[in-house]
């Protein structure tokens, strides 16, 4: 059966959820072969096998941590040559997209980024994408070479599917470019203990209306009551109230949770670009004319300093 190469996103062997979603999509077209690189790569095999990986190629070398992007491209190319897959799937992180696109040039293939769905079509693999701040949906295909496609988080369910997951060491010889960009220092992002923004089922976001870093605890306690991730608008990030890593929108994270709650956010096009595909959207804003209300399933016109604490209290009471 045809094999589909899946690039694994993991942190020291802990596989991130979007990779498991890719395995679900890969199984629609063929047998998933996973590639895990870097420290802890071999530790990914168990969970990948439980989700359908027939083979797990692993490779570790200092280059993966010491240099930017290109060593991973070299590894993916080596895997591509070893496997001859019918498609290459990569998680749509900033780095994942760069790795995928560079591989595509090297192997003479077209690349599609940020797919939100994939299916086998007559002319090959068909990718669904969102365009213009998610106001359009497109269906596209790679028309030359082996499709290289990056897929956004939350695009498919995670499904258990036990497979062999045979671990094989991959030989990689690094290209001349591999050591071009040195990583001279790395500060890991501190964990908030909350779900990952792009993977969360519920996201609670605050904007300029939150009016100060000292008030963001209102957003956080609501998020914690719901088991949600915390997001922020660019206005709140630019004001220094919340870290950039939590920004939702065109130049921040793009999220597609089951539930998105926007508080004190007007709903500018660049913010909508990152949240418009959420399943259920709720907003709290004191301005009845705010554009965010065009998107909502349920909106409260009111002061977030009243509404949010009451909501949090009620959520806790109902859980209680």
């Amino acid at each position: 059966m045809a094999e589909v190469l899946v690039f694994v996103d993991h942190v020291d062997g802990a596989v991130r959820k979007p990779t498991l979603e890719l395995l679900t999509l890969a199984r629609r077209v063929g047998e998933p072969v996973a590639l895990a690189v870097g420290a802890g790569a071999a530790g990914t095999a168990g969970v990948l096998a439980e989700h359908g990986a027939v083979r797990v190629l692993t490779v570790d070398a200092p280059e993966f941590a010491e240099y930017l992007v290109v060593p991973k491209v070299d590894a993916l190319q080596a895997a591509y040559e070893a496997v001859s897959p019918v498609a290459v799937l990569v998680p749509s992180s900033a780095e994942g997209k760069e790795v995928a696109a560079r591989l595509a040039v090297r192997i003479g293939s077209g690349v599609i980024t940020d797919a939100v769905d994939l299916e086998a079509g007559e002319g090959g693999l068909v990718a669904t994408q969102s365009a213009f701040a998610a106001s359009f949906t497109t269906r596209s295909r790679v028309s030359r070479g082996t499709p290289v496609i990056t897929v956004k988080p939350n695009s498919a369910p995670v499904e258990a599917a036990v497979a062999a997951g045979a671990v094989e060491a991959l030989e990689v010889s690094f290209s001349a470019q591999a050591t071009g960009t040195r990583v001279t220092a790395r500060t890991p992002r501190e964990s908030t203990g909350r779900p990952e923004l792009t993977e969360a089922a519920i996201v609670v976001s605050g904007g300029r209306g939150v009016n100060g870093a000292e008030n963001f605890h209102l957003i956080e306690t609501l998020a914690d009551a719901l088991g949600a991730a915390v997001g922020a608008s660019r206005a709140a990030v630019d004001a220094g109230w919340y870290p950039h890593s939590s920004q939702v929108g065109q130049t921040g994270k793009s999220v597609s949770p089951q539930l998105y709650i926007a508080s004190g956010i007007s709903g500018a096009i660049q913010h909508r670009a990152g949240m418009q595909t959420s399943k259920t959207i709720v907003a709290i804003n004191k301005d009845a004319e705010a554009p965010i209300f065009d998107l909502v399933d349920y909106g409260v016109v009111g002061d977030l300093f009243q509404v949010v604490p009451q909501l949090t209290e009620e959520v806790n009471a109902r859980k209680g």
Partner: protein
Amino acid sequence: MSLRIVVCVKYVPDATGDRHFADDLTVDRDDVDGLLSELDEYAVEQALQIADEADDAEITVLTVGPEDAKDALRKALSMGADKAVHVEDDGLHGSDVMGTSLVLAKAVEKAGYDLVISGMASTDGTMGVLPAVLAERLGVPQVTLLSEVSVEGGVVRGRRDGDSASERLEASLPAVVSVTDQSGEARYPSFKGIMAAKKKPVVSWDLEDLGIGADEVGLAGAWTVVDSVAQRPARTAGTIVKDEGEGGRGLAEFLAGQKFI
């Protein structure tokens, strides 16, 4: 020796306008007002700052796009760039990232460069991969998605805030850099800048000037095809209530009804 900086800027349909696709399923660039992609203003700004720090530097802004894309070049020139290159050819219509990156690579080489600076993503295509592909094609280091950048003694350094870590990066020139909207507000063109821009040179190149065959770019030369485009159905109007003191509880009721609590 002078530091030669090439800034890649894209002319895009205004995001606050009614963006849509043309009949051939490419981005409609005729019907909607265009402008210099806001995210590329950050690239121009960082180029200007790097040039300020250097003993001697020259900034060329480069765009691949239709005739109106000259507006984007003018804006960048009025911000302070020295000269501009416009790659314009009917054969370019419908190019995908592979076509565009090929053209940019050839143009950057023809212009001569030590440092290429791009935006983090175009506001219409939003792929955010072009700088990486350009580095691959040019065979030079990629130092991308920087929220901070500096150049000193032939070395570019920067900070990249990734998903799991913030990294400090370093590479020797020549290199391809891209900067994010965290890199620092872009300046507004001054009146003097706008006047001066009118006199700055803008050269036009076509595919022949770059030695690129018509079959390598454009819709026919693209390595991807769009089969269909559909407007996302407008979200059905939701319930909107005014808070009269019970707004939070009403919202909790709604969430419970949807099984979120």
